[in-house]
Amino acid sequence: MWIIAPLLCGLIFGAGLLISGMVQPTKVLGFLDIFGAWDPSLAVVMGAALAVSIPGFMLADRNARPWFAGQYFRPGKSGIDLPLVSGAGLFGIGWGLVGLCPGPALESLATLSPGIIVFVAAMAAGMIAHDAWQQSRLAAQRERLLASATDG
């Protein structure tokens, strides 16, 4: 059951993107293009999703544990910092360039479109580059700490 539940959730998520039309970059760009023939559909998608997710997450908060797992895996970070703002800013630029965010991009792999395959490969490369950069930063930080500890 633990493997069926995420599969069903992926299917429902994919159906939502298909039915709303948000799987199509042109539909997303129609929302982002506020100076053109503006299409507010994406705002309705988000509003409807939140109308379900806000009470749904409140319900989940009342359960001590998920149905098929030992604990909830909630993001631990709080507070606004520079990585959050700069990361969201960069993501928005990429999103606006093509009209694809990660969900629709992965779902569109089903069409075997060469452009989608290249986009997803570049997206994966961007993620790997970020993680490698973070790791080297952490390693350098650790080295500096060790150096100062032996110096002192």
Binding site: W2, I3, P6, L7, C9, G10, L11, F13, L17, L18, S20, G21, T26, G30, L32, D33, I34, F35, P40, S41, M46, A48, A49, L50, V52, S53, G56, F57, L59, A60, R65, P66, W67, A69, R74, P75, I80, P83, V85, A88, G89, L90, F91, I93, G94, G96, V98, L100, P102, L106, E107, A110, S113, V118, F119, A121, A122, G126, M127, H130
Partner: protein, 141 residues
């Protein structure tokens, strides 16, 4: 607003919200697609099963829809490969640095009334709108 499709948008949006809630209730996980996908890219880490399963369902959806006669059209992308690659790199790097994308921050995070996610969503909406304004209008594309 000739392209506005409020009914299908509301039905689709409600399904996306339902998926996020069901994933949280069943497995305790956040339905943030960038986070789910990036967890598949490192060689270590043992919690890959549910991620593969979710992404598999996501890719299976248009295939099943095609079987019942609602096939998905080929997505329309820019003709320039350079633009596609740069956009992909920015989406990948930016979602990792900012800790989420449209689903993770926009639907799950705001759904949990997280201030971080509200700020992130406003920021990526603004930079995306500015990017489209520049590429579609200022550059005459």
């Amino acid at each position: 607003m000739a392209n506005f499709t409020p009914v299908s948008a509301a039905i689709g949006g409600a399904l996306i919200g339902l998926s996020a809630v069901l994933l949280m209730l069943s497995t305790g996980r956040i339905a943030g697609i960038s986070g789910i996908f990036s967890g598949l890219l490192n060689l270590r880490g043992e919690d890959k099963g549910w991620r593969i399963s979710f992404v598999g369902g996501l890719i299976l959806a248009p295939i099943l829809a095609g079987l019942i006669g609602y096939g998905m059209a080929q997505p329309k992308l820019p003709s320039s490969w350079a633009v596609i690659v740069v956009a992909g790199l920015l989406v990948g790097f930016g979602t990792r640095l900012g800790g989420g994308c449209t689903s993770g921050h926009g639907i799950c995070g705001i759904g949990r009334l997280s201030l971080r996610s509200i700020v992130a969503t406003i920021v990526f909406m603004v930079t995306a709108v500015v990017t489209v304004a520049i590429t579609h209008h200022a550059l005459g594309g």
